[in-house]
């Protein structure tokens, strides 16, 4: 289907420009391209698959209504993830407030989103290991290697400095290298095996 459809061959920025000019079909194509990627990005932060799906839907609806404000000078993905980030923060705050109410009502048996998200989707592989590093480290890894963003773009998306992004990336790489095998741990001066040892000494 995609081979016969010229819209599938267009770049994100071309589609965004068409959507900006009023093409709903172009925007739907963009949404289809990015919905799973955005889901994967937002899922660790939100409490459940359903929350993540809702956040993706909300993000695309918001972008659909505000497509006129998209500046074609920038990559569409940067704009998308910046908006998604803001919406996710709002959603997370609302969700946290709701969970607080629920916890007080139900006695506090709400599962930890990070623990619930571990190993999803799939159950093995590097990205699954990345998911267990923590939400912020996973996000920078995803933006860097999942979306091929530059440090500058990631900083813009997350609203952080470039140095902060590089520190997060370094910690994520160190953590991931630690999960890949004990050989990465420093052997120059053998130390007791501790969680701290995995990140160097």
């Amino acid at each position: 289907m995609a081979e016969n459809d010229p819209i599938a061959e267009r770049t994100d920025e071309e589609l965004a420009r068409e959507a900006r000019a009023g093409s709903r079909r172009s925007f739907e194509e963009l949404a289809n391209r990015y919905k799973r990627r955005l889901f994967a990005y937002l899922r660790p932060r939100l409490g459940s698959d359903q929350d993540a799906e809702d956040a993706v839907q909300d993000t695309f609806l918001k972008l659909y209504r505000n497509i006129g404000s998209y500046d074609p000078a920038y990559r569409f993905s940067t704009w998308l993830y910046t908006s998604a980030n803001r919406l996710a923060i709002d959603s997370f705050r609302r969700g946290r407030a709701a969970r607080t109410v629920l916890v007080s009502d139900r006695g506090g048996d709400i599962p930890d989103p990070a623990a619930a998200g571990e190993g999803e989707p799939g159950g093995s592989g590097l990205w699954d290991a990345a998911r267990t590093l923590g939400e912020s480290r996973f996000r920078v890894l995803w933006l860097r290697y999942g979306e091929d963003m530059t440090i500058e773009e990631i900083a813009a998306v997350l609203g952080r400095t470039q140095l902060a992004v590089r520190v997060l990336l370094h910690r994520a790489r160190t953590g991931l290298a630690g999960k890949l095998g004990p050989a990465v741990r420093c052997a120059a001066r053998p130390q007791p095996e501790t969680a701290r040892g995995a990140a160097g000494h």
């Binding site: 709903r24 091929d148 990465v184 052997a187 160097g200």
Partner: protein
């Protein structure tokens, strides 16, 4: 400390493309674990990119709905769209300003043909004897008064024009007490 710093330098090289400092290179040459970190770090980027598609394929598909949403508005149309609240506020300000500055009284009736004829006759009389008029008045009034009179005449003419043009009656407000 040497390991931490060297690994940070490895990450810096990976992210910024800057050259690895000499001390870090020497440390990595000596430290087997840091050498392993370099190899892992370098392979991570390609491995993460390679595994991305397979990992995303495991994400369950779900529909997105844009039903009920209008077509995205083009940028030109968006630029021209007026927002009701600011427009109403602006209109209110204009009306309030007009009410403060002017007092508009609806005219009872349009000036009759006789009124117009009388006005034209008076104007013709003034125009036909400007020298006489100037001679009579000039002796009695100072230059300042003359100036005021000229201004008053200009204003009267303007008011007459506006009255005729807009079919309204404009009354003169009382002079402020300070004057």
């Amino acid at each position: 400390m040497g390991c931490k710093l060297s690994r940070w330098m490895v990450s810096r090289t990976e992210d910024t493309g800057k050259k690895l400092p000499g001390f870090a290179g020497r440390h990595i040459g000596r430290c087997r674990a840091c050498g392993e970190f370099v190899r892992t770090s370098v392979s991570l980027s390609s491995r993460l990119r390679d595994e991305r598609a397979a990992w995303l394929a495991k994400v369950p598909d779900f529909p997105l709905s844009f039903e009920g949403e209008a077509e995205p508005a083009g940028t030109v149309a968006r630029g021209l769209r007026l927002r009701p609240l600011p427009v109403a506020a602006a209109a209110l300000v204009v009306v309030a300003a007009a009410l403060v500055l002017f007092r508009v009284v609806p005219r009872a009736s349009v000036p009759s043909a006789e009124d117009r004829a009388a006005a034209r006759a008076a104007l013709a009389e003034l125009q036909s004897a400007p020298g006489k008029l100037r001679g009579v008045i000039g002796g009695a009034e100072s230059s300042l008064e003359r100036e005021r009179r000229i201004l008053e005449q200009s204003l009267s003419s303007a008011v007459e024009y506006l009255q005729a043009r807009l079919n309204i009656k404009i009354e003169r407000k009382e002079a402020p007490k300070s004057l």
